[in-house]
């Protein structure tokens, strides 16, 4: 089961570039939350602050508080511990090319020393079923490499890999932007099914996608969060003029 995320006064910098400014936001548990906005508005930086991935860039810096459930992730824990609880799916599918499909899914567990063979089998199967990939790969689990799948399958494999460690939060950074329309709709269906079990934060360029999968939507512009509300309200009756301009396609 997922937990909520509470962000208070979050600021982020890349070098001297102030990419996130005073973000305050409550993301509800077990719902999908979409973040929209034009390129470079800080939405990707924002999700990378939730699992402390942005710190892997040595010039990045962050102030403020992010709470996942009861845990203050910048005060109470190390990045490694956070990332075991917060799964992430990236823009481009990045399965491990030298590993079989099975090993790709089990990678997170094996990494952390989980070696109960029987349970691993079950978790791999469950994760692949959850990511709607099981039927397509069940006969080649150990035969085929993660790289031999199509782009859309690879992305679902990456989702299975993230789900296998039973995360509380699933971050998706434009998970469908490198995929064709059919694969995209599969990923969207998947998000729709998964959101009852996980807290999902999805960054997207595609406003229709946000409208289709998310209950809540946040609109980012120039490193600030302009508006956060129910998806319905954002797309039908936004409070801020800039949100309206973006949604109606006047810029971005």
């Amino acid at each position: 089961m997922g937990v909520g995320i509470e962000v208070t006064n979050l600021n982020a910098w890349y070098g001297t570039n102030h990419t996130l400014q005073e973000i305050n936001l409550k993301i509800p548990a077990n719902h999908a939350t979409a973040l929209i906005g034009p390129s470079g508005c800080g939405k990707s930086t924002f999700v990378r602050c939730i699992n402390r991935m942005h710190e892997t860039n040595p010039i990045a810096r962050v102030t403020g508080t992010v709470r996942i459930g009861d845990l203050d992730i910048y005060e109470d824990a190390k990045p490694v511990e956070i990332r075991r609880r917060v799964g992430m799916v990236f823009q481009r599918p990045n399965p491990f090319p030298t590993m079989s499909i099975y090993d790709n899914v089990a990678a997170g567990l094996k990494l952390n020393g989980y070696s109960n063979r029987h349970e691993l089998d079950e978790i791999v199967e469950k994760s692949l079923k959850n990511s709607a990939l099981w039927d397509e790969v069940k006969d080649d689990l150990r035969k085929k490499s993660g790289a031999s799948l199509s782009g859309g399958q690879q992305q679902r494999l990456c989702i299975a890999r993230a789900l296998a460690v039973d995360p509380e939060v699933l971050l998706m950074d434009e998970p469908a932007s490198a995929l064709d329309p059919v694969s995209t709709s599969k990923i969207e269906d998947l998000i729709f099914q998964l959101k009852s079990q996980y807290t999902i934060v999805i960054v997207t360029h595609n406003m229709q996608q946000a409208a289709r999968v998310a209950e809540n939507t946040g609109f980012f512009l120039n490193g600030r969060m302009v508006e956060f509300d129910s998806t319905h309200k954002i797309f039908t009756n936004p409070s801020d003029k800039r949100t309206e301009d973006y949604i109606t396609g006047r810029f971005g």
Binding site: N51, M53, T56, P58, V80, E81, I82, R83, R84, G87, M88, F90, R92, P93, N94, P95, F96, P97, T98, M99, A107, G108, L111, N112, S145, A147, S148, Q154, C158, R161, A162, V165
Partner: protein, 364 residues
């Protein structure tokens, strides 16, 4: 309307172009009736330089083909000159021992009695190269991991530069350093310790007080192949896409786990290539090895014993070979070394290339 005009224009242009080889081709086209600028007139007055271009093309092809020519010439020469030894010993040359009529001991390389077998040199080459890899590979991978994954930015360039500078030092300098520094060090401090601790294995006999031998050759070879192995390993590690590192980190990996699973695992084929390329260097390295290996034509189990490699025996005996057969036998060793190093290097390059240019099975 516009679409309909396009073919018309094309026809018009093609009519203006003179037929290839026609007298018109050589004359600047002055069909244009309007007044021409000085620049235009100058450009029109130039020929099409077709001859010069063809000549240039031919010259460059010649330069490129000369590579094949050189390789073919070397191979032919080696084959021709080693014919005599090949005719006399055939395949025996690579493994057979001869009984010395005087002492009754097996002899492999006996210029006095005209018996030649390359086995001790094959053995010496393998042993010294293997020792070199054993020492150089872990160190080289460590250097590459540090440089690509954890080195502070300011230290990266100086460190990479120094590593690669090692490759520029002439072989004979390494040899001198080994003779004056490494060998005494081994003789005084390392070898006694090895003999005492590991003498029971039989690999560290105490019958050679000089400090010269396989171990000294292995150490100097390790230092010499370190730059190529570490710089190629670094190259293939850098070729691993950043997304692979992120994928592992996002699963909650520590830095070491990320390097192991996200980097080394993906780069392993290329690293094997780098190691094999290092092996290629070690097999053929001559000068420094000749100076420290002790140059004996016998086979000893002890790594502290004297020996020879294929390259070192050629360097050592070529100038004073005792006859045509001796010379021819040396040539045959040269031919064998030539073939082995070419195969080893080609294979290694292929592996490195597969990683840095995108392996056939890779998505990125």
């Amino acid at each position: 309307m516009v679409i309909a005009q396009v073919p018309e224009i094309r026809i018009h242009q093609s009519q203006l172009l003179p037929a290839p080889g026609s007298p018109e081709e050589k004359r600047p086209a002055k069909a244009v009736s309007r007044e021409i600028s000085a620049i235009r007139a100058f450009l029109l007055s130039r020929g099409n330089s077709a001859m010069a271009d063809r000549g240039f093309h031919g010259l460059m092809v010649l330069c490129a083909l000369s590579i094949f020519g050189i390789v073919a010439l070397i191979a032919t020469e080696l084959v021709l000159r080693s014919k005599m030894a090949w005719g006399q010993f055939g395949l025996d040359f690579f493994y057979k021992a001869y009984l010395d009529t005087y002492t009754g001991q097996p002899m492999y390389w006996d210029p006095v009695n005209g018996h030649f077998s390359a086995l001790p040199f094959l053995y010496g080459t393998l042993v010294s190269s293997f020792l070199a890899l054993l020492m150089a590979v872990p160190l080289a991978i460590g250097i590459a991991v540090f440089l690509t994954e954890m080195c502070p930015r300011w230290l990266r360039a100086p460190l990479a530069f120094t590593t690669e500078l090692l490759a520029a030092i002439p072989s004979v300098i390494y040899g001198l350093w080994a003779v004056f520094v490494l060998v005494p060090l081994l003789r005084e401090h390392v070898n006694p310790w090895l003999i005492k601790g590991l003498g029971w294995t039989g690999f560290f006999g105490d019958d050679n007080p000089t400090g010269l031998g396989f171990l000294a050759a292995g150490v100097i070879l390790a230092i010499m192949i370190l730059p190529i192995v570490s710089s190629l390993t670094r190259e293939v590690m850098l070729a691993v896409p950043h997304s692979q590192r992120e994928a592992v980190l996002a699963l909650g990996a520590t830095r070491w786990e990320m390097i192991r699973m996200g980097v080394l695992r993906n780069a392993r084929i290329g690293i094997v290539g780098a190691v094999i390329l290092g092996l290629g260097r070690a097999l053929g390295e001559t000068m420094a090895v000749t100076m420290v290996i002790g140059n004996s034509s016998e086979i000893h189990r002890s790594l502290l014993a004297n020996g020879s490699t294929m390259a070192s025996v050629i360097a050592n005996q070529f100038a004073e070979a005792s006859g045509d057969l001796h010379l021819s036998a040396l040539m045959e060793i040269g031919l064998a070394l030539f073939i082995v190093t070419i195969i080893v290097n080609a294979f290694a390059r292929l592996l490195v290339w597969m990683v840095t240019r995108g392996a056939p099975s890779s998505t990125h």
